[in-house]
């Protein structure tokens, strides 16, 4: 089906819905892949359910989320309220991690994280926890909603107004920052506008400011003169410019490419022929994000071998997946601190372009830190987490074997964490570690249960530190 290098793919095949057949059956590997990309990995129950109900129902469920979403949103808002009044961004980071870990709608949180990286805004400049929280709520509200509305609302968002200096954009002294990024990074991409468009568009956003931490329009500071933007002339205001961007044919393609990179591949470069059919449907559906995501997740391309385990897990994704698959709960304040050195500080992307992502997440230091995080979570001896994510409890819960051998436990954990994706080269590592664990001399007072639990934790740690687990 792949007609050449770098994805000269037949678009019709690519975006047609995947249907299991004997050549390409619905397997635990595919179920795991779906949950890695559209949720935060699958725990054992989710894997088994997905395997049983097939791709269509599994994707439907991921798109709608679990029960109690509204109540969860209300609870999350109540938790955030006192934190948003403070000045400690660590608490807000921890709050979002808590929401990510506990939300019944993991896809919604994944999309919220995507938009956080798309409309990358950092509290390092905004310096207002309340505004950062409200932006996060806005991104969540529209995460699977309408991109048109999202772009309009982000433009008025108080954190964004500070982040891209719209608050300093006055009549006679236009600041081009927001107009530039709106076109370059948020909607069109380079090559679809010129410098004159930016200068003229900047004038349209004059008078946009903040009062009592909320958007406020000051007509005295607004330039209401004629502006010519992308070939059209009028006394445009800010929202008119946003609409001009949304009406531009490049906008849908730009967003589709973004979602392609997020859900399918960060390294493969899709040509316009592959993107355009999706972009056309995105336009037809009035920028409905959920429908776009639905097409992507159900596609043949999404389930093709070329995109399987072809993405590097971002630090948040890595840590949350780990906790979710272990069916644990963590102190998210501690977790927020641990994610910093891994390279992803929520509410503080490094620039307006967001995190580079992909292979950039990994180097010798971050790999070591990922290993340490795995050890801290699974050893049950780290006082920050103790037994909250204990692999031994997990095996007892799900393995339907009265007295499993170490080999059986290893097989279960490999199926859970990697869905059996253990290369033959890695297999020898398992054999060696299992042998070592079996031969090890344990303290005389250790019971057989103690020894088994210790071995289970050691094997779980080994699997979670394999290169394969770093990939989504």
């Amino acid at each position: 089906m792949f007609l050449g290098h770098y994805l000269a793919i037949d678009p019709v095949w690519a975006w047609s819905a995947y249907e299991p057949d004997p050549k390409s059956p619905w397997t635990i590997e595919k179920a795991g892949h779906l949950y890695r990309r559209a949720a935060w990995g699958a725990n054992w129950t989710e894997l088994q359910t997905a395997l049983k109900q097939g791709p269509r129902a599994s994707i439907d469920q991921l798109l709608t989320g679990g029960t109690g979403l509204e109540a969860f949103h209300q609870k999350a808002a109540r938790l955030a309220e006192p934190l948003a009044q403070g000045t400690d961004d660590q608490r807000l980071r921890a709050w979002w991690l808590y929401v990510i870990l506990n939300s019944p709608h993991p896809l919604e949180e994944r999309l919220t994280l995507l938009w956080h990286n798309h409309f990358a805004t950092s509290n390092a400049k905004v310096q207002n926890i309340g505004s950062m929280y409200r932006q996060n709520e806005l991104l969540r509200r529209h995460a699977l909603g309408n991109f048109d509305k999202l772009l309009h609302d982000v433009s008025e968002d108080s954190a964004m107004l500070v982040w891209l200096d719209t608050v300093a954009n006055k009549k006679g002294k236009p600041n081009e920052n927001y107009a530039r990024e709106l076109m370059e990074l948020f909607s069109l991409g380079v090559g679809n506008y010129n410098e004159t468009d930016i200068r003229q568009a900047a004038r349209a956003f004059t008078g946009w400011g903040i009062k009592s931490d909320r958007y406020h329009f000051n007509p005295d500071e607004h330039d209401d003169g004629q502006k010519t933007v992308m070939g059209k002339t009028s006394t445009f205001g800010g929202h008119d410019i946003v609409k001009l961007c949304l009406d531009h044919p490049a906008c849908a393609r730009f967003v589709v490419r973004k979602l392609f990179r997020y859900f399918i591949s960060e390294t493969l470069q899709p040509d316009d022929a592959l993107i355009e059919p999706l972009a056309a449907r995105f336009r037809e559906n009035h920028y409905d994000i959920k429908q776009l995501v639905s097409i992507i997740l159900r596609s043949n391309l999404f389930f093709s071998p070329e995109v399987y385990r072809a993405k590097v897990k971002a630090p948040v994704e890595f840590a949350v997946t780990l906790v979710h698959m272990l069916e644990g709960r963590v102190d998210s304040i501690q977790l927020a601190d641990l994610l910093d050195p891994l390279g992803q500080r929520l509410f503080a992307p490094p620039s307006v372009k967001g995190w580079d992502g992909g292979p950039n997440w990994l180097n010798s230091t971050t790999m070591l830190l990922r290993h340490n995080l795995c050890l801290a979570l699974t050893s049950t001896e780290d006082r920050r987490f103790y037994n909250r994510c204990d692999p031994a409890q997990l095996t007892r819960k799900h393995m339907n074997v009265a007295d499993p051998t170490l080999d059986q436990t290893t097989q279960f954990l490999a199926d859970l964490f990697l869905q059996g994706d253990i290369p033959t080269t890695t297999h020898s590592k398992f054999v060696a570690r299992c042998t070592q664990l079996k031969q090890q001399k344990y303290a005389a007072y250790w019971s057989q249960d103690f020894i088994k639990d210790y071995q289970t934790r050691a094997i779980a740690h080994l699997i979670l530190t394999l290169p394969e687990f770093q990939l989504a």
């Binding site: 609870k75 109540r78 938790l79 955030a80 309220e81 006192p82 934190l83 009044q85 403070g86 608490r91 921890a94 709050w95 808590y98 870990l101 709960r329 963590v330 102190d331 998210s332 304040i333 050893s379 049950t380 001896e381 006082r383 103790y386 037994n387 909250r388 090890q440 001399k441 344990y442 303290a443 005389a444 007072y445 250790w446 019971s447 103690f450 639990d453 210790y454």
Partner: protein, 589 residues
Amino acid sequence: MMLPRAFCVLLLLVVGASRFISADEALVQPKQVDPLRLVPQNAIALFHCSQPKLAVDQLLGYVNRLELTRFDEVQELLNSTPYQRFSRYLQYLEKEYDRPWGKLLDDITGNGLVVAVLQPDEPKKQPQVLGAVEAKDAELLHRVYLAALEFIKQEAESAENPAKATTKNYRAVSITSLGDQFCLAQHGSTLLLATTARVMTKAIDQLLDNKADSIHQHHRFVPTERPRSADLLGWGWIDVKYLKDQAKEDIEKFKLPTNDLLPHLLFGGLLDAVIRSDHAWIAIRADAQGPAIELTSPVGRAKSQEGARLLHMHDPEKEPLLPLLNPPGTLASTSFYWNLSSLWQQRDKYYKEGALKEFDEADKQVKPFLAGNSLGSLMNTLGARHRLVIATQRQSGYKSRPKTAYPAFAFVAECTNPDQFSKIIAVPLRTAGFFFSTQVNMKLFDETYHNSKITGYRFAENEKNHGYDQGSLFNYSPSFARVGNFFVISSTVELCKDLIDEIQLPTSASSVGDHADLRQRFSWSALSQAVAAERPLLVSLLTLRHGGAVERVDDQINALLKLLDRLGTLDLTIHHSPGFKLELRANYR
């Protein structure tokens, strides 16, 4: 930090399995001996516990009494792998030695334990540490010691970076070293733990020869001064002179007269005790009320530096300290002796010549702010007994609520000439108010409350003031009032009124009949009220910590509030007469 942890672990390990031990090994007969004799003269500090079992029982008693196991954090600790392993180890020991762990602990440590910090071998090196445990049952100790060595090797196998265990003999006593920072040995009823082989061999010499190199020969170790009482859990001794010799230059700075009086103004009595002490004792006690720590030194008021004595030390022949003030919602309350008039009248005893001139110069400069009066005349109108109070704000005179609520606080000064004091102090207080009113919107008011005139300021509840540090101004309504012989300066008018009510009670001005120089009380119960006021934030933070359901966190907060209430108060008392004594005592409910 390393040693106490290693010490505890090894103490437990040492109570190990005996199945590896041959029963016919030669054993030294146990005898009633104090491990203190093994502490050498070069000890800097030591801690002695004569009945470790009793101390552990008492500690567990408090855990039960405070119902700490109701907390998820505690439950998590108890369910954690390290604790489960420890618990399993205890079960194993109970089975192997056929006795409950309490009895086991008593048999192994029942004749006492001591931990001593020793002078380093060379200057600027780390001090060494020696631990000694005396067993009631020497045979048991011997068996479990050898078994423990076996366990240590087994534990090391599963450790990430196991320390190598090596064994060598010294005078027929086997010493096992773990790495280069820890070694242990057992002989007869004695178990020894040390940070270096040198310390260990000296301790073995002392154990075998019982020579005269023991702390008992140290001239600053005076056994008659040692803390004693029925409720004593353990006691300690500190060679203060040795520590002072290591910091001679710093200590010199604190001697009077000085150029830097601030530390003396705040902590002069304590500094004086440190400067004059050669050694100090620590006692840890536990009774029905709760645990207490006591620090004592034989230095008393009599030979104190004159400046420190005049400023901070209560004269036993004069009126004793005033009782602590306890308005509703009191978080912390202090009553102390602070004779500022002595500072003025005998300032040459405090200040060196240069600083004395600066002091006199400053006195001239403040005159315009004191309506032409000198600082001295203000100080001369002050008494020597004052009180400080911090209390939760039960009610506020503002409709607006600050985003962060701070407690109210007040200083209650005793005056020898209250009319004169009120007259002089009113000028700078009003001037400060006027100056501040140029920065924020505030209004001066006078109010008569229970025959006392209160002068205060209230901030206008307008947008400007709301924007000032997230409305933090609405935590305050600065007020002052004269009440009989006392002058109240309070951060809120509400606290000022509460204090007026309390000061007017006859019991408030009367003495408590003791000769303490400072009393301080911290109320956990009031803290519980303050915590309850911040419940939404607490729910959020604990939910993030817990990682689970909010409903569970709600239960935990209720348990926390109950615990705070049950913790009662924490009392600090300082006496300078006859000797120095600082006591910190918990009063559980």
